[in-house]
């Protein structure tokens, strides 16, 4: 059964053209869905709708077989974790105290984290070779480290669905490699992943399902081999593009024609 099902979802700001209009898709366990579209097309808005943070004007979103509208924030948080775009951590919490906040969905409102929550945090920090940063204040980390810590926080939440808004935007090539590899390996454990990106190549690298924001508020969702054509991508970005097959990498690459 699909972990997440979106049916006929529409969203518009008051007195404006719809941002997206009657879109639909579903996400299975272990599936990666990458959303592509130009700036301001509504990628982040769609993610916020999926999280139940922004109400859509019509249509439905279900987690497993339950409508998201009928779930509490706590129930949603037990299933979906979110990594916001360019999250500025304006806090002096230590890395460990920051990460452990993600256990909140599993604890009562008056409970504080238990020993096993702390252990989970430490295991994950070790896995990413960040255990030496455990007691460092967040504000002392570099942008790339903060982004990685924010992704680890989402994993501390033990979600079935991981939603990331432009996770690669602030990262150098090395860290992009780390995150892309991580996302692929998380998918093999059965976690569903939804992300937005500005780089069509990320879709080829992840070999994922793709959602293309077409003009007129439509979303084309499907297999990347079928949808990632030169024509579709040029329609999405309204600019001439070149699509080339890289035999040594067994994938395509999409480049600007400059």
């Amino acid at each position: 059964m699909a972990l997440l099902t979106v049916k006929e979802l529409s969203f518009a700001y008051p007195r404006q053209e719809p941002v997206f209009n009657k879109i639909g898709f579903s996400v299975q366990p272990g599936e990666i869905l990458a959303l592509l579209g130009p700036n301001g097309v509504g990628k982040s808005t769609l993610l916020r709708c999926l999280l139940g943070l922004t109400p859509a004007i019509s249509g439905s979103i279900s987690l497993a077989d339950q409508q998201i509208k009928q779930l509490t924030r706590r129930q949603i948080a037990q299933q979906i974790a979110y990594v916001p775009q360019d999250y500025q951590v304006n806090s002096n919490l230590t890395v460990s105290d920051f990460l452990i906040t993600a256990r909140a969905p599993y604890l009562g409102p008056f409970q504080v984290p238990r020993e096993k929550d702390q252990q989970l945090v430490e295991t994950l920090l070790k896995r990413f070779n960040l255990d030496q940063l455990k007691d460092h204040p967040l504000s002392s980390l570099s942008g790339g480290q903060q982004q990685l810590v924010t992704i680890i926080k989402a994993l501390v939440q033990e979600p079935q669905i991981l939603i990331l808004d432009e996770p690669m935007a602030a990262l150098d090539l090395n860290r992009q490699q780390v995150v892309l590899t991580l996302l692929k390996s998380l998918a093999t454990t059965g976690m569903a992943i939804i992300l937005t990106t500005h780089l069509p190549d990320h879709v080829f690298m992840l070999d994922s399902t793709v959602g293309l924001f077409m003009p007129g508020g439509k979303l084309l969702v499907g297999n990347s081999e079928q949808l990632m054509t030169k024509e579709n991508l040029e329609t999405v970005y309204q600019t001439p593009l070149s699509l080339t097959y890289l035999p040594e990498l067994h994938r395509y690459t999409c480049q600007l024609i400059i």
């Binding site: 943070l53 916001p84 951590v89 105290d97 906040t101 969905p105 007691d135």
Partner: protein, 331 residues
């Protein structure tokens, strides 16, 4: 030493300092009383009724009052800073203290009981903080300064309200009591007034203590708190009410004592870190130490009593400048 053990140390040191300071405060005053005499007076109150009277009915309630009010104001400030994820706010800056003072002054003018005074102080505080939040949300700009500006507006309005109440108050019987609220003093505290505000202070403290970890999550911003499963609106309202209970309870018996709610939480966090599991209780301990220290100075430095806000201002204002410079608060 694990990080948890490392955190126990400041708490222990804080409590020891508080205990030593309490003994010094008991001993100091117009009549100096030695620690041996203090011990005798508490163990055998009949031996020297004059000394026992000074210690138990005059100094002890005042010392307990300083500890409780200092802790309440600092904890309330720590909570407000986390609730609004804003290092520049405090019960004074949000207008809570002045709103509570208007309510209390009104109750005095109407010759209401101590219970009604508390009710009006709390209501005044809640109205003030809700007004501040409403004004800040109407100004559709983000940034830490908007809430501060809204608070200045509301505080100004509430101070005008106190001015009006003073203007219509009876200059012989009511005016002195109201003026007392503005300067802040612990001189009139006795066991009766302390006991009367305890239900209010305890309920505020219990709510904050129970929700102290969620307070940390709220300090990361609404979006993070929401996606970590917290009902932000509901919990924030509950926490604002709890912070207001603490401030209003303190204002009822001590008047307006500024700066503690703003400065002390920063000092506490610089020692135990930002996580409110530790920062909230440690702020309370630091606030208790600070107010007990200041109040002991206030009643021993000169023959007359120095109003507390004068001393907290002289100490608090330069400390706050230092914090602003050191922490490089983002405005």
């Amino acid at each position: 030493m694990t990080s948890k053990q490392r955190l126990n140390c400041p708490f222990l040191v804080g409590l020891i300092i508080l205990a030593i300071l309490a003994v010094i405060a008991l001993a100091s005053g117009r009549i100096m009383i030695s620690p041996v005499e203090i011990l005798t007076a508490f163990l055998h109150p009949g031996d020297d009724p004059a000394i026992s009277n000074i210690l138990i009915t005059i100094r002890l309630p005042r010392i307990l009052g300083a500890i409780i009010i200092g802790a309440a104001l600092a904890a309330s400030g720590c909570a407000f800073q986390s609730i609004f994820h804003n290092p520049l706010v405090s019960p004074d800056i949000l207008g809570v203290s002045y709103g509570a003072a208007v309510g209390a002054a009104f109750a005095i003018l109407a010759s209401f009981s101590i219970w009604a005074t508390q009710f009006f102080a709390f209501t005044g505080g809640v109205i003030a903080v809700l007004l501040t939040i409403a004004i800040a949300s109407f100004i559709k700009q983000r940034g830490t300064l908007i809430l501060v500006l809204a608070g200045i507006v509301v505080s100004g309005f509430m101070q005008a309200g106190i001015g009006l109440l003073k203007y219509i108050a009876d200059p012989d019987s009511q005016l002195p009591s109201i003026v007392y609220w503005q300067l802040g003093s612990l001189a009139k505290i006795d066991f009766t007034s302390l006991l009367a505000v305890m239900p209010m202070l305890i309920s505020g403290a219990v709510i904050l203590t129970l929700l102290r970890w969620h307070l940390t999550i709220l300090s990361l911003g609404d979006q993070v708190a929401n996606t970590e499963g917290i009902n932000v609106k509901q919990e924030r309202l509950l926490l604002v009410l709890a912070g207001t209970l603490l401030t209003a309870g303190a204002v009822c018996i001590s008047g307006n004592i500024g700066w503690i709610g703003l400065v002390i939480p920063h000092i506490a966090r610089s020692i135990v870190g930002d996580d409110n599991r530790y920062a909230l209780p440690f702020s309370a301990i630091c606030g208790a130490i600070f107010l007990l220290f200041v109040d002991t100075l206030a009643r021993t430095l000169s023959a007359g009593e120095i109003p507390l806000s004068i001393l907290t201002g002289f100490i608090g204002a330069p400390l706050f400048v230092y914090i602003l410079l050191k922490k490089q608060v983002r405005l």
